[in-house]
């Protein structure tokens, strides 16, 4: 029988009681690469836990497959040989499981089954960060169903929210939550972690942000990662309020901004805040202007940072550059890369994946029909064929970015001949096409 699609409100009102034992799961991920794995924390589950505790009062447990081990690493393993390679176009991508294996769940469950440790969960809620990661979600549902045949399986998170019908049809579950309440102001139930995680995720604008950070520091968690659409909202007051209230909680407290920092929204006041030693890293989103970049915004942002006594390049700072979006042009990509590199000192290429219901997906729905949803991972460059840029070319851009990041400090570089991309890069460098001002970069070739 296919799963029902419900809202969270309905789920809690009709399917959950105080007697329930709810297990929240942050499942493993099957992917070809996962650069930001260390910042995977199921903030939605942690806030949901607080919500359920206050609204329902049921027993809550958490199994975070992605929690780092004692050495700070997230366990990962190549998939078995038979299913190790994903063939996408002409490329063979080796696939890994990021996070623990399902033995994690089985061992936990075996311990729970004894009388002393309490009963088996009556409901299992599985979250998801990206809709194209549903393979591992589907497998997690299978394992849960097998091990806990009587438990209700509920899917939440991005996969359930963005593609509820797909989730209901392709996963062994009972309920798919397509709408969740706004839980931004609820505290994160970090106490669900027996071992403190290495960082605390905080949503900018959340009323519980300061409290969450203070509670985290009490457990010796000193890394704080901000999430949000706009780090510069209210002229930086939201960010500043949190930093001022918590910076002195611990001398080793460090803030990380890995999304939502728009160069065009930066002000001198915010630049001064970011220049503090307590900010361990911050990365600028791409500032676009039409098809190209808003170079003025980058230049201004750089100026503000330099006025705040930050000397660029600084290893804490970099700028994102989108690749893989529909309409990519290789020369433009290279130009963008060099411009961002010039202004930010370091670049991070951000591969693109269409989000269901967003313009990129809606505008190219017909094109995307031919691509199976689990191949929408940005690392497979789903718009490669549309753009006429091969996956090899895109991979080359990664190599170039790594190369450039390393060489920019030496103010000189040489690089390989080969693909069209590298040739175009050489030509661009020769003509210094990105150059509005004198640049420290010079070719020695």
């Amino acid at each position: 029988m296919m799963a029902k699609v419900v809202s969270a409100k309905t789920l809690i009102a009709s399917h959950l009681t105080k007697q329930d034992r709810v297990l929240l799961i942050n499942p493993p991920v099957v992917e070809t690469r996962y650069s930001w794995i260390r910042w995977n924390q199921p903030l939605d589950l942690l806030k949901l836990a607080s919500y359920l505790r206050s609204k329902v009062g049921c027993e809550i447990h958490l199994l975070d497959y992605m929690q780092p081990d004692k050495e700070g690493d997230v366990p990962q393993e190549w998939l078995p040989k038979a299913s190790r390679y994903a063939l996408v176009g002409d490329e063979k991508y080796p696939m890994r499981r990021f996070g623990r294996s399902h033995k994690f769940l089985k061992d936990w469950l075996a311990a729970r089954k004894t009388k002393e440790r309490g009963g088996v969960p009556t409901q299992v809620w599985i979250t998801s960060l990206c809709s194209y990661w549903f393979e591992s979600i589907s497998e997690t549902c299978r394992v849960v169903r097998q091990e806990m045949s009587d438990a209700k399986i509920v899917l939440i998170g991005q996969y359930a929210r963005l593609t509820p019908k797909h989730a209901a049809e392709h996963c062994v579950c009972d309920l798919v939550v397509s709408k969740t309440p706004n839980l931004i102001d609820l505290p994160a139930a970090l106490d669900l972690y027996k071992e403190p995680p290495p960082f605390v995720a905080v949503q900018l604008g959340s009323k519980s942000a300061i409290g969450d950070i203070k509670a985290a520091v009490k457990r010796q968690i000193v890394q704080v990662v901000f999430f949000g659409e706009d780090m510069c909202e209210k002229d930086g007051d939201s960010l500043s309020e949190i930093v001022e209230a918590t910076e002195r909680q611990h001398r080793r407290l460090r803030f990380h901004i890995i999304c939502g920092l728009q160069p065009e929204r930066l002000t001198p006041k915010i630049a001064k805040l970011l220049a503090r030693k307590s900010f361990a890293q911050f990365h600028f989103e791409q500032a676009s202007a039409g098809d190209g970049l808003n170079v003025e915004a980058y230049a201004r942002a750089r100026r503000y940072l330099e006025e705040a006594k930050l000397k660029l390049p600084d290893e804490r700072i970099s700028g994102f550059v989108w690749i893989g979006r529909p309409g990519d042009n290789l020369e433009r990509l290279i130009r963008n890369t060099l411009t961002v590199l010039d202004h930010c000192g370091s670049i991070i290429l951000k591969p693109f994946s269409p989000t269901p219901g967003e313009p990129a997906q809606l505008d190219h729905a017909e094109y995307l029909e031919a691509i199976k949803p689990h191949r929408w991972s940005p690392h497979f460059f789903p718009f490669s064929d549309l753009n006429g840029i091969t996956r090899t070319e895109y991979h080359d851009l990664y190599r170039m970015a790594a190369f450039l990041n390393e060489k920019v400090h030496n103010h000189a570089f040489d690089f390989l001949n080969g693909t069209l991309g590298t040739q175009m890069l050489r030509n661009s460098l020769s003509r210094e096409v990105w150059n509005l001002e004198p640049s420290p970069l010079r070719i020695t070739d």
Partner: protein, 660 residues
């Protein structure tokens, strides 16, 4: 300091006797035994930083110089005087052969002894012929100054025989001016002379020069023996703390090198790999009469009751210091080590010998794995709290072979001899072993290892318990391993079907349709006999009880003699989840011409034919996966051969494990 002759010792004999104690720690422990015999409660051992000297202080009864000469340094005669005797506090005396003081002769240059005791020395002897005279100093054997003799010595002379009348000075007896020579003037027949010397307030410091002694042994220069031992007497102003201080001076270089040696690098498990000092302390704590290291909230407290520890007398404290803060030694035994697992009652054999001539209490324990440190393996036997030799198996190891012999590496024990076996004629001089012809030893051996060519007794029972565990563990691993292996086949097929549906494989629609089916057109398989793949009825000779809700896949109760298996866990589960539908696998022993498997959709059962010829080509896991993949791909493909082959290959190749 003046020389003092130690009664009639041939240096070459001294040299031979000193070689009895090997290695150094066994020689050193004699000093601790002496302190115990002196009724000390506390002994402090202090090493100098460079290990050149060791100072041993005890708070025992101390010694007068007479006791030092006549008891501490007296060769032989000890057996007559000490055998069976107890100390003033009622402790069974450890020293019995009177050679303990020589123990360190080979290991150091000098032994310096400082002590005192508020006691009197009394010597009684008879002068058979009168008139006659005696030289008091020669008789006492101590180089005493005249003023000391005059101040502290009393002499009573009595006629021997029934009358026993006292002889009066000036009438029957006379002294010389210095009062060192006593003359009996008349023929009064034999006389009994009683000399007493009051040692209270008089301390002494004696030095035994072993270096010189062993040199003399080479040159056989008996004349120079006087210089081997020197002594100095001094008045003690007030009653200070009693006890004895012995300083072992100028330890030989090989001893110092050993003590200074470092712990072996890397992961070490045995005592032999520890630093020299650690080894010394470990062996010292195992061979001296100190309390056991009883666990406070630690493992195996039940063992303490078996040791008879309460009935034994020990030092209250033996403290050792080198450099940093002192360490109080306790006697370690394996069951009390912090990381030791709980010893199950079936592996713990109580030893309780109570026969005429021998009483002993203790235990022999088998462990679930090889014992480390290796020095704990074997049965340690103690007489009067002192270990006799190293732990061993009383010769049983020569009778055993194969698994039984290997089991010895998992056995440890501790036996305290409460009486018997402490006579001089049962222990060799260095207390390294028993005389095997002794009757008492034979009684003990019979209890511990039995008689004849088979090993029996307590050790035999322990070996049997260890082997039983090993066999059970092996049988369990085999049964569970096979079950888990089979279970993997079901997991792989289940995961494969879920994967194909989730990724919208071209076979997904057909699979979904199959899973909705309610058909039941099976043929002959359901009516054939069952193929038993259930948990075995017995494992390791013990009946298997199936249970649920255990904290582990299995529990073994060696006392009750049963194995409990949780059939909900591990590989005993025969349900197969195919996406959202659950099937039960029913194992059948069908004929070779029946299908490899059949699906009854109505009853949600899949029959697997273990009598199919393909089974001969592969292991259980491979066969199960093949059977399921074949029947499911056939059911889903509705006789479309190419789709069926395609699906079959996908189901066969999908694995959730790296060894798939």
């Amino acid at each position: 300091m003046v020389g003092m002759r130690l009664g009639g010792i041939d240096p070459s004999i001294l040299r031979e006797l000193s070689g009895v104690y090997k290695p150094f720690v066994k020689a050193f422990k004699e000093l601790i035994s002496n302190a115990f015999d002196a009724d000390a409660d506390r002994v402090a051992v202090t090493f100098s930083d460079d290990f050149s000297t060791i100072t041993v202080d005890d708070d025992g009864a101390g010694m007068t110089l007479f006791e030092f000469r006549n008891d501490f340094t007296r060769i032989g005669g000890g057996s007559r005087r000490w055998a069976g005797e107890k100390t003033r506090k009622g402790r069974p005396r450890i020293g019995s052969k009177g050679i303990g003081f020589l123990a360190l002769a080979r290991y150091c240059d000098r032994l310096r002894v400082r002590s005192s005791a508020a006691r009197s020395f009394v010597a009684k002897f008879q002068l058979e012929q009168t008139p006659g005279s005696i030289d008091v100093r020669t008789t006492l054997g101590i180089p005493l100054e005249n003023n000391l003799l005059n101040d502290r010595m009393k002499c009573v002379v009595l006629r021997a025989g029934s009358k026993r009348s006292k002889l009066e000075e000036g009438i029957h007896i006379n002294w010389n001016r210095a009062r060192t020579r006593l003359k009996v003037l008349n023929d009064v027949g034999p006389v009994d002379i009683r000399l007493s010397f009051d040692c209270s307030g008089l301390g002494f410091e004696a030095v035994l020069d072993f270096h010189r002694l062993l040199q003399l042994a080479d040159s056989a220069d008996l004349e120079a023996l006087d210089d081997f031992a020197t002594v100095e007497l001094y008045e003690i102003a007030d009653e200070g703390p009693v006890g004895t201080r012995i300083v072992v001076e100028q330890l030989k270089s090989f001893v110092r090198t050993e003590l200074r040696s470092d712990r072996r690098k890397g992961f070490v498990r045995n005592v032999a790999s520890r630093s020299g000092l650690e080894q010394f302390l470990w062996y010292l704590s195992r061979s001296t009469p100190i309390p056991y290291k009883l666990p406070q909230g630690g493992p195996n407290p039940q063992v303490a009751d078996l040791l008879g520890a309460a009935g034994q007398m020990t030092l209250k404290e033996l403290q050792v210091c080198h450099g940093s803060s002192p360490e109080s030694l306790r006697r370690p035994i394996f069951p009390f080590e912090p990381d030791t697992l709980l010893i199950s009652p079936d592996l713990l054999i109580s030893v309780d010998v109570d026969e005429p001539g021998v009483m002993a209490k203790g235990f022999i324990a088998g462990c679930q794995s090889v014992i480390f440190p290796a020095e704990y393996r074997g049965i340690a036997i103690r007489v009067r709290g002192v270990a006799i030799g190293n732990p061993g198996f009383l010769g049983a190891e020569y009778l055993l072979t194969g698994a039984q012999k290997a089991a010895l590496s998992q056995i440890t024990g501790e036996i305290n001899i409460l009486s018997g076996l402490d006579a001089v004629d049962t222990l060799n001089p260095g207390r390294e072993s028993f005389y095997e012809e002794s009757d008492q030893y034979k009684i003990l051996r019979r209890h511990l290892v039995g008689e004849g060519e088979q090993v029996g007794g307590c050790l035999g029972r322990t070996i049997a318990a260890v082997l039983r565990r090993s066999e059970t563990k092996s049988a369990l691993a085999d049964a569970l391993g096979r079950a888990a292996f089979r279970r993997r086949a079901l997991e792989d097929v289940s995961a494969a079907v879920t994967h194909l549906i989730a990724t919208a494989d071209k076979s997904a629609a057909a699979i979904r349709k199959m899973l909705k089916s309610q058909r039941s057109d099976v043929n002959g398989l359901p009516s054939t006999g069952d193929f038993e793949l259930e948990p075995p009825l017995r494992i390791g000779g013990m009946p298997v009880v199936q249970e649920r809700g255990l904290s582990k896949p299995y529990e073994v109760d060696y006392i009750k003699g049963e194995v409990r298996l949780d059939t909900e866990q591990a590989g005993w589960n025969w349900t197969l989840l195919l996406f959202d539908r659950r099937f039960t696998i029913v194992n059948k022993k069908g004929g070779p011409n029946l299908p490899i498997a059949e699906v009854d959709h109505k009853r949600s059962q899949i029959y697997v034919n273990w009598g199919h010829p393909i089974k001969l080509q592969m292991d259980e896991r491979g066969f199960l996966r093949t059977a399921l993949a074949l029947v499911l791909s056939k059911e889903a493909s509705a006789d479309d051969t190419s789709n069926m082959m395609d699906l079959l290959l996908k189901l066969m190749s999908f694995s959730t494990h790296h060894d798939g």
